[in-house]
Amino acid sequence: MQVEAYAGEEMVLNMGPQHPSTHGVLRLELETDGEIVRKVIPHIGYLHRCFEKHAENIDYPGVIPFCDRMDYIASMNNSLGYALAVEKLMGLEVNERVKTLRVLMAELNRVASHLLSIGTYAMDIGSFTPFLHCFREREKVLDLFEWLCGARLLYNYNWVGGVSHDIPEGFEAKTREFVTQFEPVIAELDKLLSYNKIFLERTADVGIISEEQALSHNVTGPNLRGSGIGWDLRKEEPYCGYETYDFEVPVGLGEHGPLGSCWDRYYVRVREMEQSLGLIRQALERLPEGDVHEHIPRRVRPAKSEVYDRTETPRGELGYYLVSDGGLIPFRVKVKSPCFTVLSLLPAIAKGGMVADIIAIIGSIDIVMGEIDR
């Protein structure tokens, strides 16, 4: 052992890529002074599969399964964004039934995704039971998806110009049943976790993201709304007919501490699940007749053009930048991942906190490494 090794005051702690709370394969280099973290350096790329290179070598519909595998927690939303971007590139308009089904599935998936996020967040803070309660509910959504398209995680459901399967008989009733029984669970979650004294102590004063930081780092989705900015693409730039639905955009209020804290972000997700349930109800009520395969083109070949299209996934704004040179395969597909942008803010908000706070912050920004590394 060398004496020099002990000369410094700070210890470098390597958190991840194998660590229970880095939500995948994130690696953080922490410079710690006792329990205080002086500096955080995130290292990403452990899950890098070069999605963008794949996409440049396969035809337009073939990219969809790859999209599913980016944010594997919210595959429906990921492929939806891509399908919409390609449709915009082609000038394709889908029928009402497809639009409604897309909304329905996107919102169901949003509920499932937020359940996972909330559950794992509870576990990060040290509470194990809410995690399993959330997973119990998430399982029901996954069962619905399995019934719908045969897959539980990677659905390949949103196709260019339509969706892969129409809903099976009885699906609506089952979904209604889920919505009805799920609503009280949110109240239960509030009692068990959200307003728990220890949980508030751990999260309500930690990881503050200011409005300015959020804009400069292009933080989006629930993380942005947690900082008090009521920005939701479903309202501001509606797609799939979201403008015709009645829903609210929950924002952080800073009830239990400074605005933009971990708790605010967490609670925005809880409230968003309620709104999603409302959207699911409305979508089920209006579900028009139609053929979901009606507008699926035989050959996807957009004219030479380019488009940047963004949609609101459970994690924020997912942007696709597509460049077409008029061929059968995309010339360039760039993905702007919402987790990527919010993770870039981590060094700034985690500095000066404690080791335990790092965990609380990572959990609250709800990242999926598959999407960051692509």
């Binding site: 194990f128 102590e201 404690m354 080791v355």
Partner: protein, 348 residues
């Protein structure tokens, strides 16, 4: 132990004729074996219990297969598995300390069982400083934990060890002070004396007296922290420190830490039972030892209940609870207990 010797003298023919050394030594050995059996058995049951308790709180079933009835043999199967696992010592570890640490942790918990008064005559040794002995010997565990954290040569383990040391030392103080509130009126540190002072009906238990009632909560919280249970489980906070001080341990060495944790849970519950819940006293339809174990198990259940309900505190919040909340309260309680004792003495 006296009871054991009496039984042996009366029941075993020719015991009187044995050499005197053996006459003294045999009951000691027997008592040790009984204690060891208990220390091994309690965790087995407690671990299975915890699994079932947590499972039912979480809408699961828990172990259902091994052994038939509700998976009762699951822990035994796991124990056998851990025994058969490869024994891994990290290359850079301090080998001697690494091997010694689980034994020290386990020994601390084990040795404390000696003074637990299971019944009127069921106590290995009724030391006249029993309470002090428990407080002292159970602190041996923290030495083992620091050893484990240091010897593993792993930063997470080191973090866990440091946290454990800080936490256990901090919580020891309010706990012992709160225990004093019981010792003052009894006037003895002997466990049996304390139990006997609570005889004569449920309402003579110390938990039903105002000062000691508050002391009970201080002791309960303090001991909860000393055995590293949620919400005070920061030394092994899995989401932060992977597994804390036992990150690098596997196989039987890990099992020792695990067993020690559950043995300690039972130990502190038994201590609280002795001090505040009347020990082995209880309605006559059940024998004393049964009452004692029932009460202790009830407290163990509360510990599990808390674990599966609450999130975990942060290090600074944990210290805040100890130094700024529990410590002042326990000082006030000691003062109150002393004043009360003086006033009672002075009263005609």
């Amino acid at each position: 132990m006296e009871y054991l010797r009496e039984v042996l003298t009366q029941q075993v023919a020719g015991y009187d004729q044995l050499p005197e050394v053996l006459q003294i030594f045999l009951p000691m050995l027997l008592a040790c074996l009984l204690c060891l059996g208990l220390v091994a058995l309690v965790p087995l049951v407690a671990i299975w219990g915890e699994r079932k308790v947590s499972a039912h709180m979480q809408d699961r079933l828990g172990p259902m297969r091994v052994g038939g009835w509700h998976g009762w043999a699951q822990t035994i199967a796991d124990g056998v598995k851990l025994l058969l696992k490869e024994d891994i010592i990290p290359a850079q570890a301090d080998r001697l300390l690494f091997k010694l640490a689980p034994l020290v942790v386990f020994a601390g918990g084990f040795a404390a069982f000696v003074v637990l008064p299971f019944g009127e005559r069921f106590i290995v040794s009724d030391l006249n400083i029993g309470v002090l002995y428990i407080a002292a010997i159970s602190s041996l565990g923290v030495v083992g934990i620091i050893m484990a954290g240091w010897a593993s040569n792993n930063k997470y383990a080191l973090f866990g060890g440091m946290r454990a040391a800080a936490q256990i030392v901090s919580y020891e103080i309010p706990t012992v002070l709160a225990i004093l509130t019981v010792v003052i009126p009894v006037g003895s540190l002997s466990m049996q004396e304390i139990v006997k002072a609570q005889s004569g009906g449920v309402f003579n238990w110390f938990i039903f007296e105002p000062v000691t009632f508050l002391a009970f909560w201080v002791v309960f919280l303090g001991t909860l922290a000393e055995v590293n249970r949620t919400p005070f489980d920061i030394p092994e906070a899995e989401s932060e420190l992977v597994a804390g001080y036992h990150t690098e341990y596997s196989g039987m060495r890990f099992a020792f830490f695990f067993l020690a944790e559950y043995a300690n849970m039972f130990l502190v519950s038994a201590l609280a039972t002795t001090l505040f819940l009347g020990g082995w006293h209880g309605p006559g339809f059940l024998p004393g030892p049964v009452w004692f174990i029932l009460k202790a198990v009830a407290l163990v259940f509360v510990q599990m209940w808390l674990r599966w309900t609450l999130p975990r505190l942060r290090v600074d919040q944990l210290m805040h609870v100890s130094w700024k909340v529990l410590l002042p309260i326990s000082f006030i309680l000691v003062l109150a207990a002393g004043t009360l004792a003086l006033w009672r003495e002075g009263a005609p």
